[in-house]
């Protein structure tokens, strides 16, 4: 029996036990979605009989990975962030439940709605007449996520920073640790960047819910509007400028050229009513380069250690060089 067939069978038994009132419940079209750095995504269609007739629903499972570039993994921050943002009315798929019993499918997971659409990174260059609208939505949603009042939300996995430097310190520590774990050889460039970051932490002016991976690759568009913001696995409470740095770093690294940094910052300032400090932006953009570089090293290491090496993993070699170049250029050498 293949792994997919085994998981499908396990899921079917689990759903039958969880929803005993749904008669003749069956799972069909259980498929893993390719790509992504760590969390695994599966689509499935559940169908059952109700008094009015047959019902079917296509849903998505987000599950922790077997091995990924930035462990340890915890699915709860992602769940808490997505649930809070969904309740605030922003375009995030509705999560139906969180399953913390890893005996069900082998890892913790949650089940959410499937949203139809296409990645913004593909839509934006093609739909030239809608670029201004998409760009505005992209920035408005970011400002709205940052404006969300997280204090009354009783997060437990998402912990607020203990000082105005704590978020940055926590991030540096996390990525330093991940770099040391992921490297397949000494990394002088990233070490130099991390030392610079450690010595130049800007104080955060506010604490917000941060997405952590806010890029056009994690937005789904439909009918020329953003309809879903995905991949919240790096969500945290911290300095919101971190998301601006990440968005602009990705725009440069992927050579999208959707906007330049100054234009992006100005639009964000207008949408949020908050002034963005140049020092903070520089710091967080550089840290974003380091984050992505470390994730790339992790992807390469995972590929080398895995018995399921995929050819597309070779492209991480190319991308990692491009990211390293970005780090060096930001540091001025």
């Amino acid at each position: 029996m293949t792994e997919i067939a085994y998981l499908k069978e396990r899921l079917e038994s689990y759903l039958r036990a969880r929803f005993p009132q749904r008669k003749q419940l069956a799972v069909a079209e259980f498929n893993r979605v390719a790509g992504g750095y760590s969390s695994m995504t599966y689509f499935f269609t559940a169908s059952w009989q109700e008094s009015q007739g047959p019902v079917s629903q296509t849903l998505v499972i987000r599950m922790l990975p077997e091995m990924g570039p930035v462990p340890p993994y915890d699915i709860r921050p992602q769940y808490e962030a997505m649930t809070a943002v969904y309740r605030s009315g922003l375009p995030v798929p509705k999560i139906h439940w969180l399953e913390m019993d890893s005996s069900v499918l082998g890892h913790h997971f949650f089940v959410m709605d499937k949203v139809d659409g296409e990645m913004m990174m593909f839509v934006y260059p093609r739909e030239t007449q809608f670029q201004a609208q998409l760009k505005q939505e992209y920035i408005d949603y970011l400002a709205k996520i940052h404006a969300l009042d997280w204090r009354p939300l009783s997060f437990s996995a998402l912990q607020p920073p203990q000082s105005n430097r704590h978020h940055a310190e926590r991030e540096i520590e996390r990525w330093q640790w991940a770099m040391e774990r992921n490297q397949y050889g000494p990394q002088p460039l990233l070490t130099e960047a991390l030392v610079w970051l450690k010595n130049n932490i800007p104080p955060a002016e506010r604490t917000s819910l941060c997405h952590g991976d806010y890029t056009a690759a994690n937005m789904f568009c439909h009918d020329d509007h953003i309809v879903a913001i995905f991949d919240w696995e790096l969500a945290s409470l911290g300095d919101p400028i971190s998301d601006l740095g990440f968005a602009c770093m990705m725009n440069d690294t992927m050579r999208w050229g959707f906007w330049d940094d100054k234009e992006f910052i100005r639009a964000y300032e207008k949408a949020s009513g908050v002034k963005v400090s140049e020092e903070s932006f520089f710091f967080w953009k550089l840290l974003s380069y380091v984050k992505l570089a470390v994730a790339e090293l992790g992807a390469i290491r995972t590929a080398l250690e895995s018995d399921k090496l995929e050819v597309h993993q070779f492209t991480h070699l190319v991308l990692s060089r491009r990211i390293f170049k970005g780090v060096a250029e930001m540091l001025g050498f």
Binding site: P186, P188, A328, F333
Partner: protein, 167 residues
């Protein structure tokens, strides 16, 4: 020496060309198209990495030896450091690594990895000593370290010039 003795680069390029020009146009299955394309990308990467590696590694290793030698020289010159345990430890560590890096029998790659490890130690060690060393000395050493890192980066980038990134 890791210089290849037969023309690996053109062979790999030919394989990639075959996939792109002869095989790909005849495929209909999306997954096969994707895998074939990505295999050609992997071959381009390999082709761009094999031949120049020996020369690059010699340059990189020389660059790192030079910088590490200067760091050692500076650290030994500072009287204040002779009374500082962290400074002494760094000097000993760098000295040992530089000597061991080129030990008889070590390949260029092994030497490169050891010297990079020493460079990482130097970066961290200098940061820990930043309050002990004069700002001017620190800046000069940092500049030299960054020059060595930049050389490695340029080699890496040159090997991957023109290789497409697929997602």
């Amino acid at each position: 020496m890791s210089e290849p003795c037969f023309p690996v680069k053109p062979i790999l390029e030919k394989c990639a060309e075959f996939l792109e020009q002869a095989l790909l146009p005849g495929l209909n299955e999306p997954l096969l198209i994707q895998k074939t394309y990505l295999t050609s990308v992997a071959l381009h990467i390999l082709a761009n990495t094999v031949e120049e590696k020996g020369r690059d590694l010699i340059d990189e290793n020389n660059g790192m030896r030079e910088v590490l030698g200067r760091v050692l020289e500076e650290l030994r010159r500072k009287d204040t450091l002779s009374r500082c345990q962290a400074g002494n430890e760094l000097v000993e560590k760098l000295d040992r690594t530089i000597k061991e890096a080129g030990a008889l029998g070590a390949s260029l790659s092994e030497e490169n990895t050891r010297l990079k490890g020493a460079l990482v130690d130097a970066i961290k060690g200098l940061d820990a000593l930043s309050s002990t060393l004069p700002l001017e000395t620190m800046s000069a050493l940092r500049r030299q370290i960054r020059t060595a890192i930049r050389l490695q980066l340029d080699h890496g980038l040159a090997h991957l010039e023109g290789v497409p990134v697929a997602f």
